[in-house]
Symmetry: C2
Amino acid sequence: MVPEMLRELASHGLLHGQHPDAVMARVRVADSMSDAIAGVTYVQESGPEKRDVKAEIFSEIEKHADDHAVLASSTSIILPSLFTGHLARKSQCVVAHPLNPPHLIPAVEVVPAPWTSPDILERARAIQTEIGQSPIVMKKEIDGFLMNRLQGALLEECFRLLEGGYASAEDIDAGLKDGLAMRWSFIGPFETADLNAPGGIRDYIERYNGGYLKVYEKAQHRADWLGPALQEVERSRRTALPLEKIQDRQNWRDRQLMLLAAHKAATKS
Amino acid sequence: MVPEMLRELASHGLLHGQHPDAVMARVRVADSMSDAIAGVTYVQESGPEKRDVKAEIFSEIEKHADDHAVLASSTSIILPSLFTGHLARKSQCVVAHPLNPPHLIPAVEVVPAPWTSPDILERARAIQTEIGQSPIVMKKEIDGFLMNRLQGALLEECFRLLEGGYASAEDIDAGLKDGLAMRWSFIGPFETADLNAPGGIRDYIERYNGGYLKVYEKAQHRADWLGPALQEVERSRRTALPLEKIQDRQNWRDRQLMLLAAHKAATKS
């Protein structure tokens, strides 16, 4: 599976000029924790998303790790303070949460615990940059980190619009893919706003803050993500895509992401 | 300016095979409202964003309009009920709000007033589809319509993260452009979630609703969009882009959007 991905990446110019075999030659399956970890500069843990399991894995990791190794976890939901506080090497631990699929989406959020050393955080950032990822470095931890907080805020409003009967699930997705997310996919929301008023971001906010306040005022209740709105979005999705075709569509998504990554690399300013 | 845009669109295959001159030949500047409106099937009003001004323009429009013409306004912020209620032809009025720049972003939200006839709403949708736009048809009006509600929800969380000192403005933008918005730019947030769990959207929500609830619980205050967070994002943006270069960057954004539109057309499944 990995060799095939490497060939596809190379064919789209996404291996930074390296031959797939040269990359594959650097991959090795280790027989033990000590074999995997002794002497390395960076560890990426990707075990089950359970606090106690992560705490145990990190206890084992630290036994074999060097003094300056970055000890990173892929967790998307567990605060780093919740599974590293008991460690002697707790200052070497961070979260480095990639988006799915990580070989096609560059963003990785790097999240410190209160006791993570600034040097480790900086080295995690530098290593992610060096391998071609785009590290998003948080200054402190919070539930959802950065990306799931932004995704959650957007989904919450999507569910509210659906629950309130304002639009269909298809039209909500279309408003993103044929609208808002086209700009966000290469400039982000702050730069989008910055370019949408003659005087930049301050001008934009001063013009539209009042309008957005009205939007905010009508969003002061939690949508029920498990109620009729979910039935509606499920009906819509299963009409568009039967469950047995979900793997095919995931493969299609990954091909589209690869083409988009190649497009972004080719048009980068 | 329009002929130049048409040539650029044609060179990227975005004029549906038409010659730019043939499109330009259909554009005519009218000397009067009656000249512009008599006998047409669709009117798109793009006057100043002021309720009273729109109300007056629509009073003038309806004097000359046919019985079956769609009378649409480009407003991004004024509810259609607020400037069409006094009209004899109020059932013919809708909002058709495009995103900026409209010739490069397909999404147009079509928003009825309570008295808009279903036939007019359907014809507005059909005409937008026919000209190659992607109409998002709302079932009823609400402040911010659909797209500014979603943009507002996202910006609100961006400001909260900045205000709380969790990440820099640059990193927040990077989390979208190098992360979340890559997926949303071709599948939208509901389909993204649908493809992120083996059992589809219901499975995804049942797995992660608890996590998102924690995210939501730490988002229960309005961020101050005009306070220190704005100073910070303004500092960040003005460091990245001096104000006198904003027009250059808008031109760059539009070229990137054109390339992205061409890319999306070429890779559409």
